[in-house]
Symmetry: C2
Subunit: 491 residues, 2 copies
């Protein structure tokens, strides 16, 4: 049936359309049914249906801005609407929920249907749960990666293409901008794409976005890399393995990520940009995401998948028991990064870890002999060349190095006694930053004035919570007060 | 912050509100965040946020009809909107996803949050998956039932209150209206509440709705029962264990139901209406939902939970390998039911099963001696008193017995050879009816002209598919053609 677009300009975070109740009845369409909306050029998108009577005529359809954009539609345009089939992949998801192993064809179909919006968020949640609970074997994971790569765009680059990834969970720990600057300066090609934060307070894309754009077309990225050897961009905007971003958005709801999805998320992005030399950092230990044993298992899986896909992968297991750096939250983290790059009183732990990782990549890609990467990385950072490279990349990404002010809505947590810090807990510190509004609120977060083994006197500020509204600050304070003993341990 | 209601009259199947993009930014609210909306009387409801610019002023809020109704709001009313906390129960859901056992307090909180809309559909999907995959032990199931009962309304009735439930999966099999009519005629009180279809083509509520209302207030139900001893109503409209209906709606998406959820769904409704004598029918066998062994396990769980809640429960395991009755789909089933009650060429298998179940209930509640229930049930049906009772109940539910016409959009499946039917598959026949539009489209469904062991000649109509639009008929035909060999087996 043909409908006329009524542009109400609304955003729902997913494709939604509204049609008149009477028309819905006529078409025997029910709320939350799926329809396929086709523009004049024959391009289709699947959408969930709401009904409305107050704002629409029977021949009108209101569609969310997400669809308008994809189908390039404007007011009064005509679209053709048909009932969408119930996708077969729902049965495959159910099969996985039952604990069965999926075939290549089944996994490919699920990913295809997620990519084409044929599965609703609830259905994707069932898929995520199934994979989380029943896990995927190596073959299934391989098919998942292939399907994700095939469902998206690719970037073709020349040169020695390297990449790094941290499995996350550590508060702060913003090594990527530093590592990329060092490696790019050393002549390696590093097309760094990042996703938004999953369970942490910020992802690299969230952090870079405070001073530069992270949202570019593939053509623009190629230009940035041509000029600078590297970039720090948001993968979601590029359409590289776009399904990964859809899945992550829903995973965030329950803060879960399965091993297979973790592997697929990381490797699909790397393969899509043609990376050949990849360093994986797996932090382990108290309050990290994984234990040492789990980290070892994960390492083996990375190495096996590396062989399957003909990649040179190195995996380092790092101490992830405490936060790294002082700032946690987009703006607070970029400030730490710039301090390290400028060599102006940046957090020592952040610098050390960045140098370690950069050194490993330099070795992996043959820029230095085994055992000498750290030395080379250090010389690039200390010479100021890494900072120059960073500035160059930020400029290429239409940004500039600027003095960022913290939010003036904040709360200082002060010590109630003279003591020494025994442990700052990543999980609770991250959650505190999230309660304060991270990663959506760029200025929100936590600044750690004291770290493990630091002495504190009564009245010393241990950490500061920043938020962008008083309401959110209160919410974070409440969270802090309920969890303070697990967040900060004293000797 | 205060907002003025702008009534756009839209329905989204769940509480959704829209605020202006600028206001959302000011409040630091993001798409799909949750807010709490409070009316002047202090009643609150939690809602997901979309943003709009084309239809709203910055101080206006548009809310879906679901919320308007609950909060009794109209155009230009003022509401207070605050950011809703991330519910703790998300952590409990994650715990269950990890395979841990939940405490009474944790289960109670999850159910409370579902009842109060504090959990989104995606979060409920994670809960459903967790329970589906990791199951619940007897204590957890008990807490789930208690929480469901406590979150809803109750009906207090006098007399010997009986109930029945069929665990489903069998195409057709609409015994309930017949059983209820017989038991009510025998003097038992039978406040039958049903949910909508989960995985089958129709639930009892969907079927009765073709000739009477099923949507009544508790006060009205009490009156119906006072007049007639019984009712057939939709549980969801009564607010008895309302969480169950929310869960079922999301389970339907993937056609899954866990054992714990099945037990809780059934028993919470029975406990809420004060039933003391409950007959559970578990069909087993080829193409039924469960095998004989699984049926036995389920039986034990029902009996153990019966003891926990001080109920007299009897469980019968019945042959569920073939469809029962001829019609599958709301209208097609009610026609079979009326034929049996009128004793006018109704399907024999449907009559036999209904008499068996009614007889068991008469025995369980002491209306006949053990072994003599079937005889009593038969005499009530054959005397025409059961039909009179049925008519009385339908009248009390503002309906009437009428001649219902089948849809004139249909397709006849004819035999291509002379043979004999070996098996009709419940799963594929049910799915065929669903592809045709069941249960939402009342006239849609499948009519079986032939059953197991019937001889067919080339050209004989085996079954007819009914739909309400040509599009849906084509969709069902396509499904039939792809699955015909598994749907109908010949000797």
């Amino acid at each position: 049936m043909k409908f006329k677009i009524k542009n109400l300009r609304f955003l729902a975070g997913k494709p939604v359309c509204m049609i008149h109740e009477t028309t819905a009845k006529k078409l025997s369409l029910h709320i939350a049914n799926r329809v396929s909306i086709m523009n004049k050029k024959g391009r289709k998108i699947i959408s969930v249906v709401d009904t409305a009577t107050g704002i629409l005529k029977p021949d009108e359809i209101a569609i969310s801005d997400e669809i308008l954009e994809i189908l390039a539609l404007k007011n009064n345009d005509i679209v053709d609407v048909t009932i969408a089939d119930r996708p077969d992949s729902i049965e495959f998801i159910k099969k996985k929920l039952k604990g069965e192993t999926l075939s290549k064809q089944e996994i490919t179909q699920i990913i295809y249907d997620i990519a084409n919006n044929a599965l609703t968020e609830v259905e994707v949640a069932f898929f995520i749960s199934a994979v989380y609970v029943n896990e995927m074997n190596l073959s299934e994971t391989k098919y998942l990666i292939e399907a994700m790569v095939n469902s998206g765009n690719h970037i073709k680059l020349k040169g020695k293409i390297v990449d790094k990834h941290c499995c996350g969970g550590i508060a702060g720990n913003r090594t990527t901008p530093i590592v990329v600057s060092i490696c790019a300066e050393a002549g390696l090609i590093m097309p760094k794409t990042s996703s938004r934060a999953i369970t942490s307070a910020a992802g690299t894309a969230d952090v870079i976005e405070t001073i530069a754009k992270v949202d570019f077309s593939i053509k623009e990225i190629k230009n940035i890399i041509k000029k600078t050897n590297a970039c720090f961009v948001w993968g979601g905007a590029l359409g590289l393995a776009p399904v990964d971003d859809k899945i992550i958005k829903i995973e965030k709801v329950a803060n879960i990520d399965s091993t297979a999805q973790l592997l697929a998320s990381i490797l699909s992005k790397k393969i899509s940009v043609g990376s050949k030399y990849i360093l994986i950092d797996i932090p382990f230990g108290k309050s990290a995401k994984v234990t040492r044993i789990h980290a070892e298992l994960l390492k083996q899986k990375f190495l096996r998948l590396g062989k399957e896909f003909n990649l040179k992968i190195a995996v380092v297991l790092t101490d992830g028991s405490e936060p790294i750096g002082n700032g946690i939250g987009p703006v607070l983290e970029i400030k730490d990064v710039i301090k390290v790059l400028k060599q102006k009183q940046g957090p020592k732990d952040l610098e050390d870890k960045s140098l370690l990782l950069a050194g490993k990549i330099l070795e992996l890609a043959g820029k230095s002999r085994p055992g000498e990467g750290l030395k080379l990385a250090r010389s690039i950072l200390y010479s100021g060349k890494a900072f120059k490279k960073f500035v160059q990349i930020i400029h290429a990404q239409k940004g500039k190095i600027k003095e960022l002010k913290e939010s003036d809505i904040f709360y200082n947590v002060v010590s109630e006694k003279n003591s020494r810090i025994k442990h700052l807990d990543n999980i609770f510190v991250n959650k505190l930053a999230r309660h304060a509004g991270c990663p959506e609120d760029k200025l929100a977060g936590v600044y750690l004035h004291k770290k493990k083994n630091d002495s504190v006197k009564k009245g010393d500020v241990i950490l500061t919570i920043y938020a962008v509204t008083k309401e959110k600050l209160e919410y974070a304070k409440k969270y802090y007060k309920e969890n303070r003993k697990k967040m900060i341990e004293f000797y």
